[in-house]
Amino acid sequence: MDPVKLISLFSSIFILLFIFTTFSSLLLASNESISKFGFSFLISADWDPVEGRFGALPAIAGTAITTAISVLIASAIGIGTAVYISGGYSPYWVRRIIAPLIDSLAAVPSVVIGLFGLLFLSPLLENVYSLISSHLYFIPIFGGPVRGISIMTASLILSMMIIPTIASLSSSAIEMVPVELKEGARALGATRWETLRIITLPYASSYIISSILLATARALGETMAVTMVIGNSHDMPKSLFQPGCTITSVIASEFLEATSSLYISSLMELGLILLLISLLVNITAIFMRRGFYARA
């Protein structure tokens, strides 16, 4: 009876069906490689298109390592920034200027960030890595020969991209903590840091954690910037200063060159794995955020 209700319902159902369509089409497309390799796909590091052997381990490891490093760095910097602008360490007008500045990075296209990483940052970083590696060569992850195009650079680029998310959400979280609680602590003589440590950050913790999860999901799915600076090497990662690969970089660089149906199917299977991981992280983040709002 209500025409808008009907049409809008269809639109919503479209979105609902989209997830299922995505999942099932990827599943179908991965059929060949799943039946050929089974579980060993996940633990094999053998990537040989010519011989028809495909193993996802380097890509999965690369995704895990770059995501982990970038999230660690971005959390430290992001939460630190939030503490600076919202935790009482700077006058209010600082927030008004700094926050939009940091947020604006989120508006920069990922290819532009990738270009910056590829042509400007990696040559620069190569020198830094050389320096570190020449002194700390006995630590495997700092081993040479170093290259600017490497896992570390990819992680740094990723962290740059997700800092705004963590910083702005954590900053909001800190500001959402009830003023009475914060003032109560301060009135008792607590320093700013003590107030943060004992009252504010614990209260805001679930929100901050969900923002970190959100940033993780973003890092997992980032393709262009990572592909441009990671080098796409299927060797198992040993040193941070050497090229590697992630699931997204493999798909992006090799899909159009994939010659056999098994090759394509393996790439699809990689996509499926990525989809599942990112769905998991995303849904966790969504529910955590809902939990925070329900409590507040």
Partner: protein
């Protein structure tokens, strides 16, 4: 001692803030420095040429435009309608909200794969397929921002419309959407800026191209974002310069759109 800790926290967080601000400042500076002098009329109009022979990104600009038209048409229609459903009609809105948010979180390269599987296998690499892939990025953003904007319309507006004897669906289309105008517009701008900057979903849908193909939606197409990716990674100085120029262009366009979106909030 307690004061010392506080002082350390102050310094550490200040350093963190500097580190957080450094990236955007350096990206803007470097992109301007390397790209500004590349932008010229020939640059904007010409087709790509072999390295060393000039050439431009004219076809990429057209390609971007075509794909954005397709993406917007699909993204806005399904997105706005879905937002309307969630805000005005749905009893179980949180379920739809969940799926919408999940859709927004799907890695864009996966979107490219899906459109490849579902569309490209039948109609080939094309601007149309690229547009569809981009629309999948825009849809959930528009849906949620439309929903939020409609939810902010105060109930008294709905009551006034009902008391005038206006049927619900007419009220939604003519009064509620109008009242939620600003929020909806800013959602449209933000999602457009987002789609403009994406290249991953276009890799296997639009595929990229070196030629003008008129306004033919069924031919492979290039986009500014694809240019940055392919030319940036190329071994030729010349082409890398084109990548910088295109990057600057993209930066300026998305910056303007995001600024507009913020102002209409």
């Amino acid at each position: 001692m307690r004061e010392l800790k506080d002082r350390i926290a102050a310094s550490a967080s200040f350093i963190a803030m500097i580190l957080a601000v450094l990236p955007i400042l350096s990206i803007i500076a470097v992109t301007f420095a390397k790209g500004a002098w590349r932008i010229s009329l020939p640059f904007l109009i010409n087709e790509p040429a072999p390295p060393g022979q000039g050439g431009g990104i004219g076809n990429a600009i057209i390609g971007t435009f075509m794909m954005m038209v397709v993406a917007s048409a699909l993204g806005i229609s399904i997105g706005v309608l879905s937002g309307i459903y969630m805000a005005e009609y749905s009893q179980k809105a949180h379920i739809f909200e969940l799926f919408t948010d999940v859709m927004a979180g799907v890695p864009t390269i996966i979107l490219g794969l899906v459109v490849y599987l579902i569309l490209v296998r039948f109609i080939g690499f094309s601007a149309l397929a690229g547009g569809v892939a981009l629309s999948l990025i825009m849809m959930p953003i528009i849906a949620r921002s439309t929903e939020e904007a409609l939810k902010e319309v105060p109930n008294e507006v709905r009551e006034a419309a009902a008391a005038l004897g206006i049927p619900k669906w007419k009220a939604v289309l003519h009064i509620n959407l109008r009242a939620a105008e600003e929020g909806i517009k800013s959602g449209l701008l933000l999602s457009t800026a987002r789609a403009l900057g994406e290249a991953a979903p276009l890799l296997f849908t639009a595929f990229g191209s070196q030629f003008y193909s008129g306004l033919n939606l069924l031919q492979p197409a290039s986009s500014m974002s694809l240019v940055v990716y392919t030319y940036g990674a190329s071994p030729w100085e010349d082409w890398r310069g084109i990548a910088w120029g295109t990057a600057l262009l993209l930066l300026l366009i998305t910056a303007f759109m995001s600024a507009f979106a913020r102002r209409s909030r």
